[in-house]
């Protein structure tokens, strides 16, 4: 009756159907009663109103029946949910890292991918992490969703039962490109999965201290390292370049040096690079220490 995309579809969709069924029944019955009364007891028919005494039995009935119904709905909802918290011991563990505005999936052996490739019919546990603000890990096709909270060990798990691609959306608002933070779960046969995982390269570690500072403060969410235009100007080739800026309403050219980079961090709205709106970045004065600003400058010099 239900899809077999994941092992949770059945539990969630049964609860959904039962609750919706009860709801539609009450909506139709109560609306019909209203319409019937409005027609039957319409003043145009000229019958005077008859006052009715309160009837305790009737009132107790319509307290007890809804109470039993809601307790039942609570129960099926809980029953459908509980398996989502009980991860099998043999599940493959993958860590999903959310950052403004992308997902990174880290496989055992420090291999990294931007798509979540999983084998068919095998339990997969996804440890959820975030580098900056709250993000969501929502897979509507699998009926799973859990928030990615910095420094908190949330998780989700599933067993995929159908081959194919399933959308992953960020569901917790995370800034300007929130709606562009999405990915795909690709369910493949175990053989294809093994082949793919083997070919996946190990993540190269860049241990530059300046990069650590940039990552810790969320800078590269808006300033890319590879030259692509994002919310703010890219860092690639920035140091030493000549750029157009607007300072106090006047256009001018300047050459990017240590002093300019420091003022861009502590007073970002002073010189606005042409083509970017003012007011998007907050001041990091006092948040990024002077010695860390020096590390950033050293690192940017290497990004040619």
């Amino acid at each position: 009756m239900f899809s077999n995309a994941s092992n949770f579809v059945n539990g969630v969709d049964s609860a959904f159907l039962i609750i919706t069924g009860i709801s539609v029944f009450f909506l139709v019955a109560l609306t019909a009663a209203m319409i019937y009364f409005v027609v039957k007891y319409n003043r145009k028919k000229g019958k005077p109103a008859v006052q009715i005494k309160d009837n305790s039995l009737l009132e107790i009935t319509w307290i007890v029946i809804p109470m039993l119904l809601v307790l039942y709905m609570f129960y099926i909802g809980w029953e459908g949910f509980l398996p989502m918290r009980e991860v099998p011991k043999d599940a493959i563990e993958i860590t999903a890292v959310g950052s403004m505005w992308k997902y990174e999936f880290i496989y055992p052996g420090n291999k990294s991918s931007d798509t979540l490739m999983v084998p068919l019919n095998k339990a997969v546990k996804v440890n959820l992490a975030s580098k900056d603000v709250l993000h969501g890990f929502s897979v509507p096709g699998f009926r799973i969703k859990e928030d990615m909270v910095p420094q908190k060990n949330n998780y989700s798990w599933f067993t995929a039962g159908e081959l194919g691609d399933f959308d992953v959306y960020c569901t917790v608002y995370c800034g300007v490109s929130h709606s562009y933070m999405n990915s795909i779960i690709r369910v493949v046969t175990p053989a294809d999965y093994d082949k793919w995982l083997k070919a996946l390269p190990v993540k190269k570690a860049d241990n530059s201290l300046g990069l650590k500072v940039l990552e810790k403060n969320g800078c590269i969410a808006c300033h890319t390292l590879d030259g692509t235009k994002s919310v703010g100007p890219t860092f690639k080739g920035l140091h030493g370049a000549t750029i157009d800026v607007t300072t106090a309403g006047a256009n001018r050219k300047l050459t990017v040096d240590d002093a300019y980079l420091e003022s861009s961090i502590t007073d970002p709205n002073k010189d606005i690079v042409t083509g970017y709106p003012p007011g998007v970045m907050k001041s990091y004065k006092g948040i990024i220490k002077d010695k860390d600003i020096k590390l950033i400058n050293e690192y940017l010099k290497t990004l040619k």
């Binding site: 109103a49 009715i52 099926i76 989502m84 709250l134 859990e146 910095p150 959308d167 569901t171």
Partner: protein, 536 residues
């Protein structure tokens, strides 16, 4: 001339000449009725600004990708829409407008307990509103956090979050003071002989509401101050990078903001409880059950906030506990619906605009309430949480419920507020347009929500477009209906036919007064009856 029972000459509160003239006679007024109207004018103004921003969002959603604005603008627009509609429209809403105007009258009092505090509350409301508008215009750009201000994004973004949260903080005081005023009024100002169970049910609803305002609002106040302190002084309350906990923010935020939903809804239910008996010429069925269910909703409503956080990473115990309590809070609401409908049984039903709005309210409220069951159940919540399903559910409750109850109330009480009547035919046409537009606007969002369309998305996958387009069309129809409705009401209030003092053959105290009440409502002490629905 020494006659102590000298009859005071009747002067309508609208014509009364006090110390101040013209504009000042309004903003300096301590008369609860004038303050009620002041709230109504300001709330309606903010409502139409908020609706305009809602319409901008619907235009943007007509097609995937950029339609009329950039992502940063869109994020500012939905944040502003939320802040305006929540803090400046629906939280004061019915209780500040109709509560102010009718609470004292319904309990036989001359005014609220603290008239000057009441005036001060409106002033604070205006100061807070100006701050909220200012947060949009200052140089760092409109806040882009959504009305929920979730940390740590709200403590990191460069926009005017401090001004916006300070505005919500100030607006909170207006709500606290109004709540305090109403509680004291109900305890101290009832006419001699009127006990709690001789009060009509609208005051009962306001009483339950006032306790929530008084007890819950300080929590959001302190939370927003903590957020401001985190931004200004880097004190780590909520931002993990500073050693804080973002879930703490969510808990504190919803400890207020869930009960706040009942601040919006309880007075709406109270209004419906007054309107239905009047147009059915029936006593309300189950007076005590309705009165006590208001208190029950207010009480249990304090304990269900965690259902906003099932996917946040809370403990599993918290998840089932909050789910259980959430389902239990549905029962008193269901009892009210059964009582309203039973009241129609064997009545003599006069289908006038206020009653039609009440019927629309019940229908939309059942949809809003039952979709709330899908959100309260943990398994289905996981599927629809943070999608447009939540947006649809919330608007069915707050706009379909509270909003339509507000419209019902204004059509019900307009003749008592202005002494004039509006055109019934135009009112009915506007109602039908509003009802159709409303359902077209929000129902499709249930469907795409179930399919996974996340909320607060500037851009969306193409498969959601057909429903988005239907929703946008609904938005235009709804706004057209609202404009027609307001046009008809304004025209009626200004130049409609003079209304009799009891146009609906109502049986509560306000209908015993002249078409527009005098400054002190009761120039003669009212004689209180055992039955609150027996003043004819």
């Amino acid at each position: 001339m020494s006659n102590s029972t000298e009859k005071i000459e009747y002067v309508s509160y609208l014509d009364y000449q006090g110390k101040y003239k013209g504009f000042l006679s309004w903003i300096m007024a301590t008369d609860h009725k004038r303050i009620g109207l002041l709230y109504m004018y300001s709330i309606m103004t903010f409502f139409f600004i908020g609706a305009f921003f809602g319409l901008l969002m619907k235009i943007e959603m007509l097609s995937p990708g950029e339609t009329i604005m950039k992502p940063q603008t869109y994020n500012g627009v939905f944040t502003l829409h939320g802040i305006l509609m929540i803090f400046m429209v629906v939280i004061p809403g019915l209780s500040a407008v109709f509560g102010n105007f009718f609470l004292p009258i319904l309990i036989g009092a001359k005014d609220v307990a603290f008239p000057k505090l009441n005036r001060f509350s409106w002033w604070i409301f205006i100061v807070g509103s100006i701050m909220a508008v200012a947060s949009q215009l200052l140089k760092d750009g409109p806040p882009d956090t959504g009305w929920t201000f979730y940390a740590p994004y709200s403590s990191q973004t460069g926009t005017n979050v401090i001004m916006a949260t300070a505005a919500a903080f100030v607006l909170g005081f207006s709500s606290i003071l109004t709540g305090l005023n109403f509680i004291v009024t109900i305890h101290q100002m009832r006419a001699p002989g009127m006990r709690f169970f001789n009060m009509p049910l609208f005051p009962w609803a306001l009483y339950a509401t006032a306790w929530i305002q008084l007890l819950a609002t300080p929590i959001i106040g302190i939370t927003l101050l903590m957020l401001i302190a985190e931004r200004m002084f880097q004190i780590g309350f909520f931002d993990p990078a500073l050693g804080g906990d973002p879930l703490l923010f969510q808990h504190l935020f919803w400890i207020y903001s869930h009960p706040a939903v009942y601040v919006m809804m309880l007075p709406a239910m109270g209004v419906i409880t007054e309107i239905i008996p009047t147009f059915c010429q029936r006593q309300i069925y189950g007076y005590k059950a309705v009165a006590i269910s208001s208190l029950a909703i207010a009480g249990v409503g304090f304990l269900v906030w965690g259902h906003h956080m099932y996917t946040s990473g809370m403990s599993d115990q918290a998840r089932w506990f909050f789910s259980l309590l959430t389902f239990i809070v549905a029962v008193p609401s269901a009892i009210k619906v059964f009582n309203w409908i039973t009241t129609m049984y064997n009545g003599s039903i006069d289908v006038k605009p206020p009653f039609l709005y009440a019927l629309a309210f019940i229908f939309l409220f059942i949809i809003g309430g039952t979709t709330g069951l899908l959100l309260g159940s943990v398994a289905t919540n996981v599927q629809v949480h943070d999608t447009s399903f939540v947006v649809a559910h919330f608007h069915y409750i707050i706009f379909g419920g509270m909003g339509f109850a507000f419209f019902a109330a204004i059509h019900y009480w307009l003749p008592k507020m202005y002494g004039r009547m509006y055109n019934f035919k135009i009112a009915n046409i506007a109602l039908v347009i509003n009802f159709i537009g409303f359902n077209l606007l929000y129902f499709p969002q249930f469907i795409i929500g179930v399919e996974g369309m996340p909320r607060r998305y500037f851009d969306y996958p193409a498969q959601f477009q057909p429903m988005q387009v239907i929703s946008s069309i609904g938005g235009f129809i709804l706004v057209a209906g609202l404009i027609l409705m307001v046009f008809n009401l304004v025209k009626g209030a200004k130049s409609g036919p003079v209304a009799p003092s009891n146009p609906w053959n109502g049986s509560t105290l306000e209908w015993t007064l002249p078409a527009t009440p005098s400054l002190e409502n009761f120039d003669e002490e009212p004689v209180i009856k055992e039955n609150p629905y027996d003043y004819k």
